[in-house]
């Protein structure tokens, strides 16, 4: 895969516009951003500032109208869709605001999903370690709908990290949680991220969450500001 100075994610002059009715609204305008392996970057912004769109572009789940997105050294624009999906499956872990666990799968199956999608064998030690770290050992056989919000997010974090992605993308990971649960989850998130050495791009409007990261950028009107 590459050295420690390897660039995991790069966005170069990326713009993304959406049509609402007859109007075209620019969400991201000429955004440039780069993330080296092991770096942790928080992007803060108000609701509707384009944070989630940025994240979707980074994960190859959406395509920019102009500009270039490079994930794990590959220019996404040059790749056909299945390759982008494979790239995402292999290199990206995703944590969503509202968890997006699959209701009909057990906690264990949810966590193992990325392994299956990448055709990887289950590394039992790693699974146990990760699960132990997140404190969800006793939840493994349960269905997501029986879990509390905090528990769900812990499962989601485990799912995002199980296949050792190069890039962890987190979209408002504490957005759906109450204050104390959010703190606990953030603490765990921090610990797991550090211990796994994951590269992290998190979008949030929560200062506490942003504090996990070495660097924080602010997204206003589709443009990144460093302050």
């Amino acid at each position: 895969m590459g050295t420690s100075s390897e660039r995991v994610l790069a966005l170069d002059d990326v713009s993304r516009r959406f049509r609402t009715g007859s109007e075209t609204v620019g969400v991201l305008e000429g955004l440039t951003l780069s993330l080296e392996r092991g770096q942790r970057l928080a992007i803060m912004g108000a609701s509707g500032s384009g944070k989630t769109t940025l994240l979707h572009l980074a994960a190859g789940m959406d395509r920019p109208d102009s500009g270039r997105v490079e994930l794990a050294g590959q220019d996404l624009a040059s790749l056909p869709e299945p390759d982008i999906t494979h790239l995402r499956a292999r290199h990206v872990g995703l944590v969503f605001q509202d968890f997006n666990l699959i209701d009909s799968l057990s906690v264990r199956e949810n966590i193992e999903l990325p392994l299956w999608l990448n055709g990887l064998a289950i590394d039992r030690d790693r699974l146990d370690a990760l699960v132990g770290l997140l404190g969800i050992e006793r939840l493994m056989a349960r269905l997501p709908e029986s879990l509390s919000g905090g528990e769900k997010q812990r499962v989601a974090i485990a799912r995002a990290l199980i296949h050792q992605p190069d890039l962890l993308l987190a979209d408002e990971p504490t957005g759906s949680l109450d204050q104390s649960t959010a703190e606990t989850v953030l603490e765990l998130f921090d610990r797991v991220a550090r211990e796994t050495g994951a590269t992290l791009l998190m979008v949030t409007h929560n200062n506490e969450a942003a504090r996990l990261c070495e660097r924080t950028l602010h997204l206003r009107h589709g443009v990144l500001h460093a302050d």
């Binding site: 959406d62 499956a89 969503f96 209701d103 009909s104």
Partner: protein, 812 residues
């Protein structure tokens, strides 16, 4: 309440597919019931339709029991002071091609001015004036592909008669499939001078008639005629009603499935509504209101569809009604408000009842936002379910096995179906999980795994699907099984090498005696049939050895029986007759003979599918003596070996060019053709239920594919490719269809068994051996799988087209 209505309206608008499915389910079920109910009415009215056309709905009919009426009675009555308007009628059946028409000869000048039918001056002139003139309804002409002015040849009274269609009635449905002729012409053409079949009189003339009718004549009112049509067609009608109710049941299962599904989706909202202070009462009213509006609209649609359907079904029932019961039906239904009203209320009631459990579940949802497991879901615990299913099954079996009444059998079958419906989700999910185990780690395995885990969402759909598929397969199996039984029976019955009939009808004794002398003919069998009233048939047989072997004895029979049969010391009866009259071997049976009653013990009960009202068989020599009737309807020829058939045919043709010979294979083919026509309507119902099943299947699968967008978006986000997801969806829909199809197999078997072994004997009086025609499975299972695959294609295509980001947004 306004807000609440808004709430349900928004929700339903967001799920138009589900809404449509619920409407379709109700409409389809109601359509089948309406179609069959209206068609039943046509059957019931068919004995009366002509009377209604001639003299109004409540006419009285003057008949001579057991024979034609002397026309002089009409003249006598009509010229007596104070006489009501009387219409003389001579009726016979005429065959045109493979269609049977009722030939009604009347005196057009006797039609009363206030009566329902009047002929125009020119029409009357034409009918009376020219000898071969007949009229029928415009619709009948269209149906037969004829036009006014055409000359047709019909077969009536055993002769071919040429008629000319001079005019058509525009509007009169009662005259569909009827040929109206002048009495003088009909008597002349049919050779029935002096005879009337009956005299029609208006209902209010009863008192006058009672005072003036000579002894020995009877008055039959319209109720009695309807009753006798009802008795005649009872078997066919109950059978069809049973099937239509099954259709409705399937429709209701679909409704139940849809509403349960909507409830699962709405649990959160209902919890929230409860939290903001909506009481259970309000919630209950809202949901009942929803159901009633949905069911009401669906039922109305169903009535409309059903009325259309009934017209089509009447076309299917025409041939069997004529062939089995001698009833000529009209070609269009005549709906009434009471029929519509009753079905509408039935549909509303049944829909409300079928959603009772959904309602109960909704009312149990506690206030508050919730997502804890099974909150508010009334899921039966496993032991409760086991007890419920087994008690339903036991009660159903008891009702079927130990009751002689058809109604109980139907109730029993319904209970069994309920048990199946309860069991189907669990079994289906087990199946799906079992399939998953083949390749648990593959994409298909995981897709199936996810499907198998969604019991609550998919359970009702799975139940509805497997029942619908099972029903249509079961009905089809019954028909096929029955056909095998009839084929075996015909094969056994037809022993003679060839059969002789005369194109001019009955065969005189000279021909029989002549043929008996021919060396190339070893022996002769013969039959002469006579209607004993109410569809009961008297058959007089000549039974040489091989012909006697043709009887398959259900009870009695044997050499001693034959001895008694030959000497008039005993009669044999068909199984339906024995069953209807609960006759045992040795019991006496009375046969009405002119001026006396012949009574003899039953010495044998034989298998027979020719008449569901039953047949009494006596030996021809006894018959000739009793009825003073030397004629025969057909003769069977048992030929010596090595006979040149062509030479024989030539010799027969030389004897008379009216002789028609039909070999046994042809007779068998014709019999099976009659059977097939009889069961066309059953096929139609099986197909209808099948269509309901298909609607349910496709809608459920589409819903499955479309309603789980978020899950699919997550999978895409986690790295499942488009192609992978498309396969995923299709594996799921096909898996569900497959589970339903597999479950349908035992259900169809059960339905086949109940219909063949319990319903047939009770409805028609005959028993049918149980066979296992698997044809329907071979059709339905691949069809279900194909439907599953096809139903997956659209959502798969739709989902795969979208970027995961959009899907995540769109579904959140």
């Amino acid at each position: 309440m306004r807000l609440l209505i808004q709430f349900s309206r928004r929700f339903l608008y967001r799920h138009p597919g589900q809404l449509l499915l619920a409407l379709t389910g109700i409409a389809a079920g109601v359509a089948v019931v309406t179609g069959v109910a209206l068609m039943r009415d046509v059957l019931m009215q068919s004995l009366d339709a002509a009377a209604e056309a001639l003299s109004g709905t409540d006419s009285v009919r003057i008949e001579q029991p057991g024979g034609p009426l002397d026309e002089r009675l009409f003249a006598e009555l009509a010229t007596t002071s104070g006489a009501p308007d009387l219409i003389p009628v001579l009726r016979t059946r005429a065959r045109y091609g493979d269609q049977i028409l009722e030939w009604l000869a009347i005196d057009p000048l006797s039609l009363s001015e206030g009566g329902p039918m009047r002929l125009s001056g020119p029409a009357t002139g034409a009918l009376v004036g020219s000898e071969r003139t007949a009229m029928t309804s415009q619709r009948t002409l269209e149906r037969l592909g004829l036009e006014v002015g055409d000359r047709i040849s019909v077969r009536a009274g055993g002769a071919d008669i040429e008629l000319e269609l001079t005019a058509a009635f525009e509007q009169r449905r009662e005259l569909d499939n009827r040929l109206i002729m002048d009495l003088a012409n009909a008597q002349h053409l049919l050779g029935r001078q002096g005879e009337l079949s009956w005299i029609e009189a208006p209902a209010d003339s009863r008192d006058w008639l009672e005072a003036h009718l000579p002894e020995g004549l009877v008055m039959v009112d319209s109720q009695q005629r309807r009753d006798s049509a009802a008795r005649l067609t009872q078997g066919m009608r109950t059978n069809l009603t049973a099937l239509s109710l099954l259709g409705l049941a399937v429709g209701l299962f679909v409704v139940h499935a849809v509403l349960s599904f909507l409830l699962v989706q709405r649990r959160r909202q209902i919890g929230m509504a409860r939290a903001i202070g909506v009481t259970r009462g309000q919630l209950g009213r809202l949901m009942i209101g929803e159901t009633l509006v949905l069911a009401g609209l669906g039922a109305l649609l169903g009535l409309v569809l059903g009325t259309w359907l009934a017209d089509q079904l009447v076309g299917l029932v025409r041939a069997p009604a004529a062939e089995l019961y001698g009833l000529v039906t009209t070609s269009h239904v005549m709906p009434t408000w009471p029929v519509y009203g009753l079905i509408f209320l039935l549909a509303l009631g049944a829909a409300t009842a079928s959603t009772a459990s959904v309602l109960r579940a909704a009312l149990h949802i506690p206030p508050g936002l919730l997502s804890r497991q099974s909150d508010g879901q009334v899921t039966l615990s496993r032991p409760v379910r086991v007890v419920l299913v087994s008690s339903l099954a036991v009660a159903g079996l008891v009702a079927i096995i130990f009751s002689a009444a058809l109604a109980w059998v139907l109730i029993g079958m319904f209970l069994l179906l309920c048990a199946c419906a309860l069991l189907a989700p669990t079994l289906g999910m087990m199946l799906i999980r079992a399939w998953q185990r083949f390749r648990p780690l593959s994409l298909s395995g995981r897709a199936l795994g996810m499907l198998g885990a969604a019991r609550q969402r998919l359970g009702p759909a799975l139940a509805a699907l497997s029942l619908a598929l099972g029903l249509s397969a079961g009905i089809a199996m019954m028909v096929l099984g029955f056909r095998v039984a009839v084929d075996d029976w015909v094969e056994r019955l037809l022993r003679a090498d060839t059969y002789v009939t005369l194109s001019q009808g009955r065969i005189g004794p000279e021909l029989f005696d002549e043929l008996a002398e021919w060396p190339e003919i070893e022996s002769l069998s013969s039959v002469r049939q006579r209607d004993l009233g109410e569809g009961v048939n008297l058959a007089a047989y000549d039974t040489p050895d091989p012909a006697w072997q043709g009887f398959e004895w259900m009870a009695g029979g044997g050499e001693s029986a034959r001895e008694a049969f030959l000497t008039g010391q005993g009669v044999v009866v068909s199984e339906p007759l024995a069953r209807h009259r609960n006759l045992q071997i040795g019991e006496n049976i009375d046969i009405p003979v002119p001026d006396q009653t012949f009574s003899a013990p039953v010495v044998g009960v034989y298998r027979d599918y020719a008449s569901d009202r039953g047949t009494i068989a006596i030996h021809n020599s006894i018959y000739r003596e009793l009825f003073d009737d030397p004629y025969r309807d057909s003769i069977g020829l048992y030929l010596a070996d090595d006979i040149d058939r062509d030479a024989l045919d030539a010799r027969l043709a030389e004897l008379s060019d009216a002789i028609v010979t039909t070999d046994r294979h042809e007779v068998r083919r014709q019999t099976l053709a009659v059977f097939d026509r009889t069961f066309r309507i059953t096929w139609a119902l099986a197909v209808l239920v099948g269509i309901i099943a298909a609607i349910a299947l496709i809608s459920a699968l589409l819903a499955l594919g479309l309603e789980r967008g978020r899950e699919y978006a997550t999978l895409r986000a986690l790295g499942l490719t488009r192609g992978g997801l498309a396969r995923w969806v299709m594996v799921q829909t096909t898996g569900l269809a497959a589970a339903a199809a597999v479950l349908a197999v035992p259900i169809s078997l059960m339905i086949h068994a109940v219909l063949s072994l319990a319903v047939q004997p009770r409805a028609f009086g005959w028993s049918v051996g149980f066979t296992l025609p698997i044809g329907p499975w071979l059709v339905l299972i691949p069809l279900a799988l194909l439907a599953g695959l096809l139903a997956g294609i659209y959502p798969a295509w739709k989902i795969a087209r979208r970027d995961p980001a959009g899907m995540l947004k769109g579904s959140s």
